[in-house]
Amino acid sequence: MRADIIAAVNQGIIAIVQLRHRADFMRRRCGWLRLSPLALLASLSGCSGHQLRLLHPDGPIAATSLRLSVIDVLIMLCIILPTGIFVAISLWRFRAARKARYDPGFTHSVRLEVLMWGVPFAAVATLAYFSWRGVFLVNPYAPTALGQRKSLLAMPDRPGKANPLVIDVVATDWQWLFIYPDQHIAILNALRLPAGRNIEFRLTATDVVNDFYIPQLIGMIDVMPGMRTKDMMRADRPGVWQGFSADISGAGFSWMQFPTRVMTQAGFAAWVAKTQAVPTHLDYARFRSMARPTIDLGNVTQVFSAVQPHLFSRIVHAAMNGVTYTTPMFLTEHMRRDLARRVPYLSGYPHS
């Protein structure tokens, strides 16, 4: 047990150090730009271009969303740009000082009114078509975007029997636990995925609603206590992406990010094998102590082997039957006061 804690703390320190390195890197590289008015432009290009996460998808789900966004924006701009230009020109041309043609009788025109209903209607009809395509393409339960596309216009196949890797996601207050039920392993506050393989997430929460989100890979899906939501995705290439918790869930919410490391299939298999050998096991009792409200400052990660079978449904059913992890007063109402006294949670309550 003691060894686990030391290992966990070490990992946390490493994570913090890594983050600092990245921050330093950023500072060196961008330097003066950070404070200049040009920073806006800089952030749009070059220096931190790939930080525009939504514009640089790395999987078919996020790519589909981006493609639809582009289509949507283009269609809308066809209306909004001319309207904006028309307004701007009108403002210029018909200002009182200019004494342009003044016609107070021009207050009604059937032809224009047909046009002004017709054009938005056409736009909405077109967008409704894409919305219809889209809901199936990125349908969390069976996204057709993961299937093969026969042609540009044809609907892709259903994901098919690609034998997805199942990952159970549990949001506690305020940590993420990822269970790999078929591999009997689990990892806390970090996610490991194989590239090129379909992933099926089954998600639940112990207590309060949360939102699971990896911008470049997968859109948001609510994570709800006593219920199971699903989502599917695939990562195109190995790399590290940041996963976010997107829905406020209490005091520790801002620290609920999880680094997502996408590995090669072989690398992933090696990681699974290595993890299956760690001595720390995870059963429901241990999960319960872990799920007590914890603010995960410094992203402390931990791996488990020999995860109890059906732990996920056990957690879902516990929530359904009224198991809660009450938030103590000092993590809410009295936080201001107690923080002054530096209560222990800062160094990893309740582990310490």
């Binding site: 016609d103 107070p104 009788g105 207050t107």
Partner: protein
């Protein structure tokens, strides 16, 4: 196109409406009260929607199901009593047309008595359920059952309170415009509560017991 958008007002057209009759206070208050009833209807609509969502065996959470807590026969008696109350209230409206104060007060009194009897039966029903351990904090299903029925009960309490006030006002003030307006609106209120009860009786009691 014309120089101006609109025609000009001719010299023969009237510009002012002196002694313009103000809106009739009775019809104005009645419209206002109907609008209030609409918002009240929305309250019950939302509660019924919540009931529809929570009326599932799963929402009983292992506790009593809805068929275990409702007794349509008792509720039927309540229904009859409530409608008798509405009937006596309507009789008092006959008295209002005749301008007979005693008649109106008598009708109101009967409506109050029957309304109170209705509430008494409802409270007895609640007491029985509490004794059986079927309390609102047992499950989501029982929560909405109690809150829906009690929300109607609270409206009934306010109706009875209003009737008591009106009995005094009829006695003291007679049939002034304000009193008559209030009597008419109270009639809408009371009938509305009766029709809400019909919905509760059908959707909660009958549907719950004989599904």
């Amino acid at each position: 196109m014309s120089r101006t958008a609109h025609r000009l007002i001719g010299p023969e057209e009237p510009l002012w409406a002196p002694h313009h009759p103000e809106a009739d206070p009775v019809s104005m208050h009645t419209l206002g009260f109907w609008l209030y009833m609409m918002s009240d209807a929305l309250i019950f609509a939302a509660l019924f929607a919540a009931y529809a969502v929570l009326d599932h065996p799963y929402n009983a959470a292992g506790g009593p199901q809805i068929r275990d807590v409702v007794h349509p026969a008792g509720a039927f008696i309540q229904t009859i009593i409530l409608f008798t109350s509405v009937f006596t209230y309507s009789l008092s409206m006959v008295g209002l047309k005749a301008g007979n104060r005693a008649f109106v007060i008598g009708g109101l009194l009967a409506a109050v008595v029957f309304g109170a009897a209705f509430l008494g039966l409802e409270l007895r029903d609640f007491a029985r359920l509490f004794a059986e351990g079927a309390t609102p904090d047992r499950s989501g299903l029982l929560s909405i059952f109690f809150v829906l029925v009690a929300a109607h009960g609270v409206h009934m309490v306010f109706g009875i309170l209003w009737m008591l006030v009106m009995m005094v006002q009829v006695a003291v003030k007679g049939f002034t415009t304000a009193v008559v307006t209030r009597l008419l609106n109270l009639r809408i209120f009371w009938m509305f509560q009766a029709s809400i009860w019909v919905c509760i009786f059908v959707f909660v009691y009958l549907n719950g017991a004989y599904r």
